[in-house]
């Protein structure tokens, strides 16, 4: 437990020095505040930008940052030093996961500010579910990648699907059809409803299935490659 806290502390310190990561964390919450206050179009759905950016935030920030942090530590061989100092791989991964989760939750809370108070809890809960899946997927990529370049190459196509498929599905029926299997699309549908009541079976299957697939891939990758 103590080593997990050390990893979290180290990452928090790094957040303010690592602009690439910092931008990932603050971009969408900031965009949400700006766009919700600056743009008002007739017939635009309520809290359109909040819901749109929330889905993009889930698909991008935790996924990319988790993969990038792990890959960087592997590339620079600082991860090896931590392991030699008896930080266990699972302690490291949990530390990184909790750190990313915590920062993203702050972002989620900021994004929820404009919502009616009755919806905020639900919004943050759905964000939380999305973050968990996204973090596990990011950890998976981090484990597979030898360096940051490889991590970027691997995250890019998935990030595009996770983040942009829900947005594009609003404008194109074919994309809407195919994006049903994307977990972020199911989260977007939840944001539109702001309740679990009457939520489709497909949605539950996609969300649970994504979590299971990501977790399965994570354990497979970890078994095969560990943190080496």
């Amino acid at each position: 437990m103590y080593n997990i806290l050390v990893i979290i502390k180290k990452q928090i310190r790094d957040t303010f020095k690592n602009k690439a990561i910092l931008i990932q964390f603050i971009l969408f919450p900031l965009m949400t505040i700006i766009m919700e206050n600056a743009i008002h179009i007739d017939d635009m759905p309520e809290f359109f930008f909040t819901k749109l950016f929330a889905v993009m935030y889930i698909g991008m920030a935790p996924f990319v940052t988790t993969a990038s942090i792990i890959a960087e530590e592997k590339e620079k061989n600082t991860l090896r030093v931590l392991m030699m100092a008896d930080v266990k791989p699972w302690q490291y991964l949990i530390g990184i996961g909790l750190y990313v989760m915590a920062i993203c939750m702050v972002g989620a809370c900021v994004m929820s500010v404009g919502l009616p108070s009755v919806d905020r809890g639900f919004f943050v809960l759905v964000m939380c579910i999305g973050f968990v899946i996204s973090i596990i997927a990011g950890a998976c990529v981090g484990i597979i990648s030898r360096n940051q370049m490889m991590a970027t190459s691997l995250t890019m196509p998935f990030m595009m699907i996770f983040s942009f498929a829900p947005m594009l599905s609003m404008f194109n029926e074919s994309i809407k059809k195919y994006s049903t299997v994307v977990f972020t699309q199911q989260l977007r549908l939840l944001f539109d409803r702001m309740t679990f009541e009457g939520y489709s079976q497909t949605g539950v299957i996609v969300l649970c299935g994504s979590a299971v697939v990501c977790a399965g891939m994570f354990f497979f990758a970890y078994q095969r490659k560990g943190l080496d």
Partner: protein
């Protein structure tokens, strides 16, 4: 403290270590000399439990490296040339991560930086450090928790003489404080100066082992005395009683400038044994 018997390790079909026998007592500096690719880093990785070996018997703290507990591993200090530092962190922040992990007071960070001559770089970003400063930061990280065994993989490789001397001083101080030090190097001068015992490693085999001066004496076949004269000439005399008269004559004639024995260096011993130079692959 460290024992190896018939240690063997291969990568695929390539045998990297071919039956290594070693014994390193507590509180000594042991130097493993060899050119690049001789198997030095592989041996450190095995001893520190980073990789497994194929066969043989290895004991560190009386245990197999793979069976070392977390507490045992915390008695190690390791500096390897490919171990990175947190580039965006200052020197102080880099050390504070490990101070936290090892449960060391943060007050010790400044003292440890002072020990390695980096006290002025406490707040300096690691990305702004020179190669020598970075090496000293890595050294500071290796012994922030006062380890019992310090593994140093080519600690002075590519450093300027002044930084090298500074690192030698630190290593010597750690030995005086009771640490056991295992260092690999291809610098025979470093090994001769620092090590209580050295082993010459070539293509995965230890070809000679012992105190540096003993090894040099063992291969002193020439047994000559080299004299530099005031007229600029050099002469060599056999190291026998007959040389005494000639030296005496030269002294009386005020022609003798310097006098040296001609025992070989570790470098020349290695060359004699392998036909290779220690640094030829660098």
């Amino acid at each position: 403290m460290i024992q190896c018997q018939d240690l063997r390790k291969s990568y695929d079909t390539h045998a990297v270590l071919k039956g290594i026998d070693l014994g390193i007592p507590k509180g000594s500096i042991f130097g493993l000399l060899g050119p690049s690719g001789a198997g030095k880093t592989t041996l450190i990785k095995i001893l520190t439990g980073q990789i497994r070996y194929d066969s043989g018997n290895v004991k560190v703290f009386e245990k197999e490296p793979a069976c070392l507990s977390g507490r045992d591993k915390k008695k190690f200090g390791i500096m390897m040339d490919n171990f990175g530092v947190y580039e965006r962190f200052s020197c102080g922040d880099n050390l504070s991560v490990y101070a936290d992990i090892y449960g060391v007071s943060h007050d010790r960070i400044w003292h440890i930086l002072k020990e390695v001559g980096l006290e002025d770089a406490l707040k300096k970003s690691a990305s702004d450090l020179s190669k020598g400063m970075r090496a000293r930061l890595q050294l500071a990280r290796a012994f922030i928790h006062a380890p019992e065994i310090i593994f140093l993989d080519e600690p002075t490789s590519g450093l300027d003489p002044q930084t090298m001397r500074g690192i030698h001083r630190i290593i010597q101080e750690k030995k005086d404080a009771g640490c056991t030090i295992f260092l690999t190097t291809h610098n025979m001068e470093e090994a001769s100066k620092l090590c209580d015992k050295v082993a010459l490693l070539n293509e995965g085999e230890i070809i000679e082992e012992g105190k540096p001066e003993d090894i040099c004496r063992r291969y002193d076949h020439q047994k000559k005395i080299k004299i530099h004269l005031s007229d600029g000439k050099d002469i060599e005399l056999d190291r026998q009683e007959t040389a005494a008269g000639r030296i005496s004559e030269l002294l009386r004639a005020r022609m003798l400038e310097t006098i040296h024995s001609t025992e070989p260096t570790l470098e020349s011993v290695f060359l004699e044994l392998t036909g290779r130079n220690l640094e030829e692959d660098e």
